[in-house]
Assembly symmetry: C2
C-alpha cells in the first residue's frame, strides 16, 4: 500500500452530515482536502451546506483560515449519490449509532471505492471489531474518533479492530497530524476507547456523590472546574502524579479506593432525566435548568472557549515536545 | 459571634511554611491581611521569607498586585513564637499529614488565640471530624483546603466536621470570596472531600488501563488533556452532560460501568514507583523520566499555565453567573 501524503491531493469522503459530520467536513476542508460529503438524509442535504459555511466563517473569525471561506467551499461536493466517493482514499462514516444503518452505509461505500481506500467510523459506542464484521475488506477499516467541534479540537482517537492491518492505521495516524490533531493510536480495541473509560469513571463517581447526597451538583462542578481545570490541559494524569511527587499516594489509594463508587447501573439522577425526556441545553430542561437565552449563551461560550483553550495549549510547545520521553 | 468583614483588619495566622503554607501566606497578603506566619521548622524559618518574596514577585509579573511587593511584605511577621498569633481571628494549619504533629500544633494555637478565633486545617487526607478530637473548642474548627499555587487558583473546599458550628463555616465561606476564590462549602465531612473523590476515580481508572496494558501512558494523557481539557474549565461535569443532551447515556452507562476498574488496592505501576522511591519531577525519576532541565521547565510551565487558565476562566462571567440556577 502506498499513500501519497501530499494532503491536498487526497480526496476524503464523509458520510452523515449531522452536527458532527458537518464539523468534520469543515476540518477536512481547512486541512486542504477536496471533500465529498454524502447526505443520507434529505434534511441534511438541505441544511448541511449552510451549516458547513457557517462553521468556516467561525474558523475565519478564529484566524484558523489562510484563504477565504469560499475557496474551501469550492473544494466541497454535497450529494446523496454514493458513487461520487469513487476517488476517495479515505471515507469517514459519521451516521447514528445503529448497527443496521451502519451496515447499509458500509455496503454502499464499499461498492464504489477502490480496494485500498481506508474506511473509518467516528463511533464512540460500538467496538471497531464488531463493525468490521460488516466490511468485506476489514483490514482497511478502523475507528477515527473526533471531538466536537472537529475543526477546533486537538483530540483524536484512532482505533484498530481485531482485523485492522497496521499500515492503514499508521497512515491515518500520520494524516491526523496534518489535520493539526494530537492523535492517539490504539492497537487494541478496548471496550469504550480511552477517553470514554476516563470520562465514565468520572461520571460514575460524580453521579454517585449526587445520588447519595454527599455533595451538591454545584459543588462537584466547582471542584472539577477549578481543581482539575487548573492543570489538565498542561499535564494530563500521569505527569500530574509525577508533579505531585508520587510518594504520598500509597496511603491515600488504600484509604480512598474502597470508598469510590463501583456502581454498574444507571445512576438515579440520570434515570430521572431520561424518564423526563430532558435533553439538557437542547431542551431547557436538564440537570440544571436553562432559559432559551441561557442555552444559547452556553452554546456560544463553548465555541469561544474551545478556541481559547486550543490557543492556550499551543503556547506550551517546549513542554509538549517533552510529552513523549 | 460577630466578625468584621473589613478584610484588611483581620489578622490571619498560618502555621507551617512549606511550599503550600508559603503560597497561602502570599495569597493572604495579597488579599490585604496582616499575616503572622509560624515556622515550626528551623529550615522554614530560614527559607520561607525568601520563598514568599519570590511568590509575590511572581504575582507582580502576573499583574495580580495593586501595590509593590514590599508593601505586602510589611504586613508579614515570620516567627517561631506561637504567642504572636494572639490577635489572629483565623489560624490556618498547613503542617504535614501526621496526627501527632497536628495535635501539638493545635494545642499551641489554642493556648494563645481568643475563644472565638477560627482554626482551620489545609489537610486533604484526614477527616475534619477526626482532627476535631484534638481541639478543645471543636465548634470553631473546620477544613479550608487550598490548591497550589494558593495565590493563583480559584479552587477552595471549606469542610465542616461533625462538631463545626455553621456560623464559623459561613464566615469562612464569605471570607474566601474576598480572597477571589470560588469556594465550595461542605456541610458534611465526606470521606476524601469532593475533589479527591473525583480525582481518585480518575487515577484508579487511568492506572488500571496502564496496569492491564490496554493503553499507554502517553495515550491516556493525550486523551485526557485534549478531550477533558477542552471543556472542563468552562462546564464542569453536570453541565457537560446537559450539553451532550443526556438521552444517549443510558445504554452507555449500562455497557461501560461494568467494564470500569473497581480496584481497591494500590495499582502495580504506582507501587513500583513507591518502591523505587521515585518522586516524579522532584527527583528526575517518575512515571515519565525527566532531566533536571525538563523538571525545571515543567515547574515554570505550571506556574505560567495556572495564570493563563485563571485569566481564561475569568473571561466567562456571563456564563459563570448562571452556574447557580
Amino acid at each position: 500500500m502506498e499513500h501519497n501524503l501530499a494532503v491536498n491531493q487526497i480526496s476524503v469522503g464523509v458520510v452523515g452530515l449531522g452536527l458532527m459530520g458537518s464539523s468534520i467536513v469543515a476540518a477536512l476542508l481547512i486541512a486542504g482536502h477536496p471533500v465529498v460529503a454524502i447526505a443520507p438524509l434529505p434534511v441534511d442535504m438541505e441544511l448541511a451546506p449552510q451549516r458547513i459555511a457557517d462553521q468556516l466563517r467561525h474558523c475565519e473569525k478564529a484566524a484558523l483560515l489562510s484563504h477565504a471561506p469560499a475557496d474551501y467551499l469550492a473544494q466541497l461536493t454535497v450529494t446523496d449519490d454514493y458513487s461520487q466517493l469513487q476517488e476517495c482514499r479515505l471515507v469517514l462514516e459519521c451516521v447514528i449509532e445503529n448497527l443496521a444503518i451502519k451496515e447499509t452505509v458500509y455496503q454502499k461505500i464499499e461498492a464504489v471505492v477502490s480496494p485500498e481506500a481506508v474506511i473509518a467510523s467516528n463511533t464512540s459506542a460500538i467496538p471497531i471489531s464488531i463493525l468490521q464484521h460488516y466490511i468485506s475488506r476489514p483490514e482497511r477499516f478502523l475507528g477515527i474518533h473526533w471531538a466536537e467541534p472537529a475543526y477546533m479540537t486537538r483530540f483524536m482517537e484512532i482505533t484498530c479492530g481485531d482485523q485492522t492491518a497496521m499500515p492503514y492505521a499508521d497512515w491515518a495516524f500520520q494524516l491526523a497530524h496534518e489535520w493539526q490533531k494530537e492523535p492517539t493510536l490504539l492497537r487494541k480495541d478496548i471496550r469504550g476507547f480511552v477517553t470514554n473509560r476516563l470520562m465514565y469513571a468520572i461520571y460514575r463517581e460524580a453521579l454517585h456523590l449526587i445520588d447519595t447526597e454527599e455533595a451538591s451538583m454545584e459543588d462537584v462542578d466547582k471542584a472539577f472546574r477549578y481543581d482539575v481545570g487548573s492543570w489538565v490541559t498542561l499535564m494530563g494524569i500521569f505527569r500530574r502524579l509525577d508533579y505531585l511527587g508520587l510518594q504520598d499516594f500509597s496511603e491515600i489509594f488504600k484509604n480512598l479506593f474502597p470508598k469510590l463508587s463501583n456502581d454498574d447501573r444507571v445512576p438515579a439522577v440520570m434515570q430521572r432525566m431520561i424518564d423526563l425526556k430532558a435533553r439538557g441545553t437542547q431542551s431547557v430542561q436538564g440537570l440544571y435548568d436553562y432559559t432559551d437565552e441561557e442555552a444559547r449563551r452556553w452554546d456560544e461560550a463553548f465555541a469561544v472557549f474551545n478556541q481559547d483553550i486550543y490557543q492556550l495549549a499551543a503556547q506550551y510547545p517546549a513542554v509538549r515536545e517533552n510529552q513523549k520521553p
